[in-house]
């Protein structure tokens, strides 16, 4: 047995020494297309541009994207519809459309639970009315929406714990963090991120989905100062990290205590946050500052703050070997969108691939052995 382990380790080292190809899917929201970006360790390039949408005279806004845990399918949310957005299912091998279903208003970020196999997608509803929106739960095999779980105003960031049993999203305008039980399909906990004193356990356990929103005065609904735009659970620790887009900080929430346990002061407009699969580093896009921050989660120090190649830094995807971060950058007006590839060890941008306008949702697809 010891002999076999030694062989495996040796083989692993050999394989790691070989060049790898990395692939990510990226949306271009104002181009109605999805790009496949390949990075070979040195150069990044868009190897495929896939037109999406059905209304040629309208921009339908591909926004959120995810790949199922098996890598066989990728899923895309098209934000605009008549009026509801749509979830599309494509094969990764062929990029052929194989299914779709209607979701809520402006469906955005999503992820599939390894526990339930279900897909959870926030309905961002940025259309102005300050009303609570929802998280759609979809069976991706049959592409049927099983339930819409009411959460807060402008929910965004849809990420699931590594055991697949807890879903997290934040409500940008109402400043709340929601935890959904992925089996029960109900809000299990809610945290007001604008309250410094987060010991109001009674508030924290209110089930928003059971509120009668017709009787609420949404005109008086608060507008969050934190303006959370993203949440990511740590792969190992019982913590989640929230991008405070309005407060220019990243909030660390202790899931055991259900309280804010730390605040990391960042640059202007933190927007998306991802954590390396090994749990050591956190990568944050600073949307307003057009920068990306790399943090050491063990020390709580920001290791680097890199200028993105152009304005409006958006999403982050991290390679499964924790080596590289892929940052989508929207561009402004007629500028192309792009993906900056960051070497997380050397802490620098290695290369940039260009794609269609307003690069947004981004998801790591696969690593393949290099040639």
């Amino acid at each position: 047995m010891r002999f076999i382990v030694a062989i495996i380790l040796g083989y692993s080292i050999t394989v790691n020494a070989l060049a790898q190809d990395y692939y990510v899917y990226v949306t271009a929201e104002s181009e109605d297309e999805v790009a496949v970006v390949k990075f070979d360790g040195e150069k990044a390039e868009t190897i495929k541009r896939i037109p999406v949408g059905v209304w040629p005279a309208e921009i339908e806004g591909p926004h959120g994207i995810t790949v199922d845990p098996n890598g066989k399918y990728w899923y895309l949310s098209l934000a605009h519809g008549n009026p509801f957005g749509t979830l599309y299912k494509f094969e990764t091998e062929t990029d052929k459309l194989v299914g779709k279903t209607t979701l809520g208003l402006f469906p955005a970020t999503m992820q599939i639970s390894t526990a339930t196999g279900l897909l959870y997608c926030v309905n961002f509803n940025l259309h102005g009315d300050m009303v609570p929106s929802s998280v759609s739960v979809v069976d991706p095999e049959s592409m049927t929406e099983l339930k819409r779980i009411t959460t807060g105003t402008m929910p965004h960031g849809s990420r699931i714990s590594s055991d697949g049993l807890r879903h997290y999203s934040v409500a940008m305008m109402s400043g709340e963090l929601f935890e959904i039980n992925t089996l029960d399909l109900e809000v299990s906990r809610k945290l007001d991120l604008d309250l410094d004193d987060t010991s109001m356990d009674g508030m924290a356990t209110v089930d928003h989905s059971k509120m009668d929103h017709n009787k609420m005065d949404h005109g008086a609904m608060k507008h969050s100062k934190v303006k959370p735009t993203w949440v990511i659970p740590h792969p190992v620790w019982d913590k989640v990290y929230v991008a405070g887009n309005g407060s220019n900080e990243i909030l660390e929430i202790d899931l055991d205590k259900w309280k804010i346990s730390n605040r990391f002061s960042g640059d202007k407009g933190p927007y998306n946050v991802e954590i390396t699969p090994d749990g050591n580093k956190m990568v944050v896009t600073y949307k307003t500052a057009a920068k990306t921050g790399i943090w050491d989660l063990n020390t709580g120090k920001e290791l680097a703050r890199l200028d993105n190649n152009r304005r409006v830094s958006h999403g982050v995807a991290i390679s499964s070997d924790s080596k590289y971060a892929f940052v989508s950058v929207e561009g402004v007006g007629g500028e192309p969108g792009s993906v900056d590839v960051i070497d997380l060890e050397k802490l620098k941008i290695v290369d940039t691939a260009e794609l269609g306008k307003q690069a947004g949702g981004i998801y790591f697809w696969k690593m393949e052995g290099g040639n």
Partner: protein, 656 residues
């Protein structure tokens, strides 16, 4: 190395493929229920020895409107049909696999309870035919769409397979409707037919194709007295003058007839066995004219969207054009001389698409829509265009419009701006520095959506896809509405649900109020960088009776699809994407297929080898201004053309 790789793969495979043996056990194995019935489903996960593993299991309904399942796994049958539940057990540890099962639930259709025969006449005359209408209901009172209903009659009448009842003999006829064991029997009095003749007259005996004849038939008894309740049926036959064509037209059962082809037509009015005929002459409309290209303002580096032409304070004529999928630019043009369209200014806002552009009635303000703003706060931008050579931004307004504004309209110091294709807001711009929302209009139908809004005479005509056109009083007074309190008072929808644009047209010739509804359909996919083909047509709806709008005519261009259009006088100027610009005579009463009737006066197709997509016409919209047709094209910019008069402007006619 290769052999080592295989060795490792074998080890890894042998671990992951080790059968766990857990499986879902469901009792009962499937479910058949009556509507409203409840049943408990017991589900567990057992190992390969059959022992309960106590793994978590959940049951989900795929559609809670059909079948519901609660937290205790009680299933409630709501709607008949074959449905399925989804059962999932997540892995309890890393060695487990997720278990998943589709569970069938069959909900029986309730038994048919009754057949209702509607609108049954009190009496019918021998030799006449009426169509019987029926509805089938089940025991829950739900209307069913069952096939297999049969109607039978006795010897006093006959019923064909399409439920047409023809009276044969005087007396009382018995009609029986049956489906399965359920029957309904009715009796109808059959009277001897007193009609011995049918009088027939027409308001014209000769007219052009496309002109509507009005026939009036009277069923008369032996004394020449009209029998008011005797049904009269109109049909026609005919022959075309062109031997390569066939006579064709449309006749309505109220006596209206229109010919498509020039020819002789015979209209027949029948009451039972009694008929009468009248022949009329339809001459060719013969209105074709050339449409001559006047000028072109080229935009070859991006797509062009909507446009507007107006007379400026200096008396010169100007245009604004939007751009699509680019960098948020709008262009301004001097079009005083249509043969020399000159770009005079541009303005760029934070957007990718400036889809719509409109000018205020006084020509001083321009409002443009934004989509694809980098901060996702789209909204509208108000521009000062009092000097179109020096356009400046007055204000930007995004409240409740962040999701993007696709179309808008300006009317009496208010902007009507679409929000997210769901509703429109009414925005007061009396002080353009501080726009403010004063009202909104939104339907409450499921999944409602909106594509455009157009205002005329205080009535907002919104184009609401499957909900059709909505007529809303925003100051006309017809329904007490105002900008602050828009009041819907009429609507019309058609089955294709493709309604995207609206233009009202009041016919001075006839006094009729038409509303022209346009489709937008792309059935063949779309190529952003190549030529495209659209589909869809214009629907003419007679709204003279607001409570009973009637879709009465259509205009279509085979192989192309409608987009935006304009009416001036009795002429329609319409863009048909790849079919270019069409000029259509809509004078007089309208009925049937206007294109086939020869009402198209002329056409022009914008094609530019230097276009963004070269030689790929895709006309967006048209507007008549001071006798010139201006039109924008998605691939090539702004164009101008004129309908060539019968006598050319530059022809000198000499008389002696």
């Amino acid at each position: 190395m290769k052999s080592l790789s295989i060795f490792i793969v074998v080890i890894v495979y042998s671990i992951s493929a080790y059968p766990q043996g857990d499986k879902l056990v469901v009792d009962p194995s499937s479910l058949t229920l009556e509507v409203g019935e409840k049943a408990k489903v017991n589900v567990s996960v057992v190992d390969k020895k059959g022992a309960n593993t106590n793994r978590e299991v959940r049951i989900f309904s795929r559609d809670g409107r059909n079948v519901d399942v609660d937290d205790d796994n009680n299933v409630t049958a709501l709607k008949p049909g074959n449905h399925s539940l989804l059962i999932i057990s997540p892995p309890a540890n890393n060695n487990d696999e997720r278990l998943r099962l589709e569970y069938a639930v069959s909900i029986k259709f309730p038994e048919i309870a009754r057949i209702a025969l509607d609108k049954v006449p009190d009496k019918i005359y021998v030799g006449t035919t009426v169509r019987l209408d029926f509805k089938v209901y089940d025991r829950t009172g739900t209307l069913r769409t069952e096939e297999g209903v049969t109607l039978t009659s006795d010897d006093k009448s006959s019923v064909d397979q399409y439920y047409n009842l023809t009276a044969l003999k005087a007396g009382t006829t018995t009609i029986t409707a049956r489906i399965g064991e359920i029957t309904n029997t009715i009796k109808i009095a059959v009277k001897d037919n007193p009609v011995v003749s049918v009088g027939l007259e027409s308001d014209m005996i000769e007219a052009r194709t496309g002109d509507v004849f009005h026939f009036n038939a009277n069923a008369l008894d032996a004394k020449g007295k009209p029998i008011e309740d005797a049904p009269v049926t109109y049909t026609f036959s005919g022959g075309a003058y062109d031997i390569s064509s066939s006579a064709s037209g449309l006749i309505k059962q109220d006596g209206r007839f229109v010919a498509e082809e020039a020819g002789l037509y015979t209209v027949t009015a029948s009451c039972g066995q009694v008929t009468t005929r009248m022949t009329i002459n339809a001459v060719a409309r013969d209105i074709e004219r050339d449409v001559k290209l006047m000028g072109h303002g080229s935009v070859g580096d991006r797509h062009t969207s909507d446009f507007w032409i107006w007379e400026g304070a200096d008396g010169r004529d100007y245009a604004v054009t939007g751009t699509w999928g680019a960098d948020g630019t709008a262009y301004f043009w001097d079009v005083t001389n249509p043969a020399n369209i000159t770009k005079i200014d541009s303005i760029q806002v934070d957007a990718r698409t400036v889809n719509d552009v409109k000018i205020s009635e006084d020509g001083k303000l321009c409002v443009i829509s934004r989509e694809g703003a980098s901060n996702r706060k789209n909204g509208i931008v108000i521009l000062d265009v009092s000097d179109p050579r020096d356009v400046s931004v007055i204000s930007t307004f995004t409240e409740n419009l962040t999701g993007g504004v696709h179309n808008l309209f300006i009317y009496k110091n208010h902007v009507y701006a679409l929000s997210n294709g769901e509703r429109y807001y009414v925005i007061n711009i009396e002080n353009p520095l501080e726009p403010r929302i004063v009202g909104k209009f939104e339907l409450d139908t499921p999944g409602h959506s909106i594509h455009d809004v157009w205002i005329e005479d205080g009535i907002a005509y919104s184009s609401n896809w499957q909900d059709g056109v909505q007529l809303v009083d925003v100051g006309n007074g017809i329904a007490g509405g105002s900008p602050e309190n828009p009041v819907q008072f009429a609507s019309y929808a058609y089955p294709s649900a493709a309604h995207h644009a609206t233009f009202p047209y009041n016919s001075k010739d006839t006094g009729k109020s038409y509303v022209i509804l346009g489709d937008e359909i792309f059935p063949y996919g779309f190529n952003l960088n190549g030529p495209n083909t659209a589909a869809g047509f214009l629907h003419f709806v007679d709204f003279t009776d607001l409570d009973n709008p009637e879709e009465i005519a259509r205009f279509e261009v085979p192989g192309a699809g409608s987009h935006n259009y304009w009416v001036d006088g009795d002429l329609l100027y319409t863009a048909f994407y790849n079919g270019g610009i069409r000029v259509v005579d809509i004078s007089g009463e309208l009925m049937g297929d206007l294109g086939k009737q020869g009402r198209e006066i002329g056409f022009i197709i914008p094609s530019d080898p230097e276009g963004y997509v070269p030689n790929a016409p895709f006309a967006w919209g048209a507007q008549l201004h001071k006798g010139t047709i201006f039109y924008s094209d998605w691939n090539s910019g702004l164009w101008a053309a004129k309908v060539v008069p019968e006598v050319m402007d530059d022809v000198q006619v000499e008389t002696r």
